[in-house]
Amino acid sequence: MAKQFGIIFGCLFLGELLALVPGMTIPGSIWGMLILTFLLNRGVVRAATIKPVCKFLTDNMAFFFIPPGVALMLYFDLIGKELIPIMVATVVSIIIVLLVTGHLHQYLHSRSKHHNQHK
């Protein structure tokens, strides 16, 4: 247990250090994820070693997020004032993302399959 948390928090710590670099817009936790992925990929850390704690943490992400969600009560006024731009921008953007991602992947995927068949 201590080993697993040590590895995960160690990566997070290194990530947070990287995020301190001035002008950095990437969160420390993302750097931490990338560092751990790199270590797994190089075989420095074995997947089986960290699996129980990783599974516990990722399975319960929704719960950890409740307090920042409750913080919403501090911003009811702001949301009320800008409800229309927020809703319209959000809904239109979701449709665009779904269609662009779906069509592009469908196109690239069918092209690469085709390519492999003719090799």
């Binding site: 995960i8 997070l12 817009t25 990437i26 420390g28 936790s29 993302i30 931490g32 994820m33 560092i35 751990l36 992925t37 797994l40 990929n41 960290i50 699996k51 990783c54 943490l57 990722t58 319960n60 992400m61 929704a62 719960f63 950890f64 997020f65 409740i66 307090p67 920042p68 969600g69 409750v70 913080a71 919403l72 009560m73 501090l74 911003y75 702001l78 949301i79 800008e82 229309i84 731009p85 927020i86 319209v88 921008a89 959000t90 953007s93 979701i94 449709i95 665009i96 993302v97 779904l98 269609l99 662009v100 991602t101 779906g102 592009l104 992947h105 469908q106 690239l108 995927h109 690469s112």
Partner: protein, 232 residues
């Protein structure tokens, strides 16, 4: 001690958070309705409870911060599913990466442009930029961008609900036929909630959606800052 003094003790607010989430999760398991999202219900219940009892958010947050603390290590732990998926899809990596790059860019650009045309304030626009990414990642990005993390979390949950409820229909209407492409898009556009929806079709679909979710999270972390600064 009065009721309020006991109720605002960190031990009480943490206990309440556990119990409400437990009950709402059980409720959804019973009813199987996507709209009864345990996360949304728990947040709504807790806000109502705090408003009614007059306990301030700051008082709730004395306990709440201990729960929120675990978000960051949870994001780091996503390295494991990412690593597991990368092993399987090495040959398709380029097409997946290009797709995600495009999905991420159009997502951030469209939401920022539309919101600024409709007159949203810079703070709100910064909070909207990472809207398609899973909440823990999105609020970290918003913090780094100078937006309002709580607003981001509300939008992200909203995006997830819209995606889970209408995403598959939207793609059928848009003539996206490949199930793998649909899964990837749902993870990209509607994060964990889109991923849950695709998992109903089978593990393979859930895995593609997870990949969309994680890759878009990483790319948005890299691209949202430069894009927002360029447009605003």
């Amino acid at each position: 001690m009065t009721f309020i003094e006991i109720a605002r003790n960190p031990l009480s607010t943490i206990t309440l958070t556990f119990v409400v989430f437990w009950l709402t999760t059980a409720l959804q398991r019973r009813t199987r309705l996507a709209i009864l999202n345990p996360l949304v219900l728990t947040i709504a219940f807790l806000i109502t409870f705090l408003k009614l009892t007059g306990i301030s958010f700051e008082q709730y947050y004395e306990g709440g911060r201990m729960i929120e603390f675990w978000l960051k290590p949870a994001i780091v732990a996503l390295a494991l599913p990412l690593y597991n998926e990368l092993k399987h899809i090495k040959s398709q990596f380029m097409s997946l990466f290009l797709t995600e790059l495009a999905g991420c860019a159009v997502g951030v650009i469209s939401v920022v442009l539309i919101a600024s045309w409709l007159g949203a304030s810079p703070e709100v626009i910064r909070s909207l930029a990472p809207k398609s990414v899973s909440t823990p990642i999105a609020i970290e990005i918003t913090r780094q961008l100078g937006g309002i993390p709580a607003l981001t979390s509300a939008i992200v949950v909203l995006v997830g609900m819209i995606g889970a409820m209408a995403g598959v229909k939207t793609m059928e209407w848009g003539r996206i036929k490949s199930p793998v492409s649909k899964s990837l898009s749902m993870g990209t556009a509607a994060h964990v909630m889109g991923t849950n929806r695709m998992s109903e079709y089978g593990d393979r679909y859930g895995a593609y959606a997870t990949l969309g979710l994680i890759l878009n999270g990483i790319l948005t972390a890299f691209l949202a800052g430069p894009i927002v600064n360029l447009i605003l």
